[in-house]
């Protein structure tokens, strides 16, 4: 399973890595730290020519260069990318952000729990549901 984490905070990147490691060792977690790089990864451009097509995307809303809302809009407007479950993982609990994310076809909206054990639980739940229980479409790059 290839998971793309789009997150600019190194602390959160590391926490998420730790949480996935604790949940399931078979996950391949790829990390990009801004929206432009995220689009390059998804389109296998520049340094990401060999990037795999992710099975699942975790997206932060507040990102440098191109913010998460724009990234989400582009993924969902792209016929080749829009079937990838894209889940928002952010600190924002603002109603506006929640509504606009779902309007942009986010598959789920999660806010980062403040307490570490809760965060660990959340990542475990994501792994259990989206990466274990849910049936995801199988894709091939050349389709």
């Amino acid at each position: 399973m290839n998971v793309l984490l789009i997150e600019d905070s190194p602390g959160d990147v590391r926490l998420t890595q730790e949480a996935f490691r604790a949940a399931d060792v078979s996950i391949q977690l790829h990390v990009v730290t801004d929206g432009v790089e995220a689009m390059a990864f998804l389109h296998q451009e520049a340094d990401h020519a060999d990037a795999p097509r992710p099975d699942f995307i975790l997206l932060d809303l507040n990102l440098p260069k191109m913010d998460g809302r724009e990234v989400l809009a582009r993924i969902k407007a792209d016929a080749a990318l829009k079937t990838i479950p894209t889940v928002i993982l952010t600190t924002s609990e603002a109603e506006d952000d929640i509504v606009s994310s779902y309007q942009l076809q986010a598959n789920c909206y999660l806010s980062k729990p403040v307490q570490l054990p809760d965060f660990m639980d959340l990542v475990r739940s994501v792994n259990n549901f989206w990466l274990t229980m849910a049936k995801l479409p199988t894709h091939h790059r050349d389709q």
Partner: protein, 529 residues
Amino acid sequence: MTRAAQVKLAEETQMRAAEARGQELSEALSRMEDRYRGLLEAAPDGMVVVNQGGEIILVNAQAERQFGYHRDELIGRQVKAIIPEGFAERLVADGLRSAVDALAQQIGTGIELVALRKDGTEFPIEMMLSPLDSADGVLVTAAIRDISTRRRAEEHLVQMESRYRGLLEAAPDGMVVVNQGGEIILVNAQAERQFGYHRDELIGRQVKAIIPEGFAERLVADGLRSTLEAVTQQIGTGIELVGLRKDDSEFPIEIMLSPLDSPEGVLVTAAVRDISTRKTAEADLLTHLADLKRSNEELDQFASIASHDLQEPLRMVASYTQLLASRYQGKLDADADEFIAFAVDGANRMQRLIQDLLAYSRVGTKGRVLAAISSEATLQQAVNNLDKVIEESGATVTNDPLPAVLADDTQLVQLFQNLVGNAVKYRSSEPPRIHISATRDGPRWMFAVKDNGIGIEAEYFEKIFGMFQRLHGRDEFAGTGIGLAICKKIVERHGGEITVDSQPGHGSTFRFPLTATDAHPAATRGVMP
């Protein structure tokens, strides 16, 4: 015939002729007099004819009545007997003018004099003189009118006017009386001061000169209403307009109109009040209110942004100290374990503090419109949220049937949650028993959250609702000291006040009011300031 006889005959003939002429003359005179008397008696006024010597030679019935004499008593008497002064003197010709000239000057002008009745009483008269040429010289006919009634009316009017003027001048407001043409006909001293004019400059001028707009227009009757109605509609309602001083400066005024019926038609009295001070005060108040509102909003926004932005780095500190603790507890030395424990505790406390601050600021910034909700369902939700602590503490939460109220759903959940949560937290050695009830109090329901906890000393009843106010050490009871401040803010936002009644060792009862849904909203608003 003798010469003498001839002369005598001639004389006799002459005499007879003379007698016959005299007879004819006297008959003519008598006819004249009858006609004249008829005119005299028909006159509405008393008529007195006087000769140059001031002697009364003719009176009519009206004059008899006026003076209380029979005409026989008057004929031949001096006119001074009934009009002591001002009449006889006017009959006298002096060196410069003939009697006719003297009289001619008086013709057509009413002369006001005092008349004397037979019984010695006086009464005011108005007299008109006219000369009448006769064989005995110029006679004077005086038409005499009793003006007692008119005089009394005039005196009354003068008295009324001075009283009215007194009232006018005593009025605290500027008073401007205007006629139908919009012309100023009366002002008082206050109005002079307000507008900077002397009253002579204002009388006769158009009211538009001092109140350019909104006044003159109100005087105009239209097809649907009379002026009286038009003005009546304005009565009692202060109309705010702009006044214009002589120096062209403007000032805000409030005018109250009242109609005044007068012989010249409906006059309008305007009480003019200078409301500059009030206007300035109002404007100041509005500015201060806007400032206060902005400053409150800024504060709420600051609290919200600050706590949100503080939360991010803090989450890192807390998460990594927790990660450190979970991964290295017992693997380093005892000191390291203790240090990590302090770091974890500090980070956790700070997180709670920030969350509570955020919750506090959200009461103001995220408040929703009050709607009719079931307070019982809301309590149930709060109790569900507290499931874990209630179970751990072995608490029993009971309630009477609770009413529908006007409230912000989310905030009421938080209010119940904080109060029930506190009741569980500040429990005594006994298992906590918490009971929620509501009693009707006019348009509101008074809610009571009663517990059997440790209670509170009376001196802290006020203090506990303040920000960061804590009565216990951290090792006794954890907490940020914001919970009850949030409760207070929520209740205040619902238009009420939260109070506590307690005795140490005997539990506490927190009370707060909420508006009943069946209290008519308009009626409820009506009684509130």
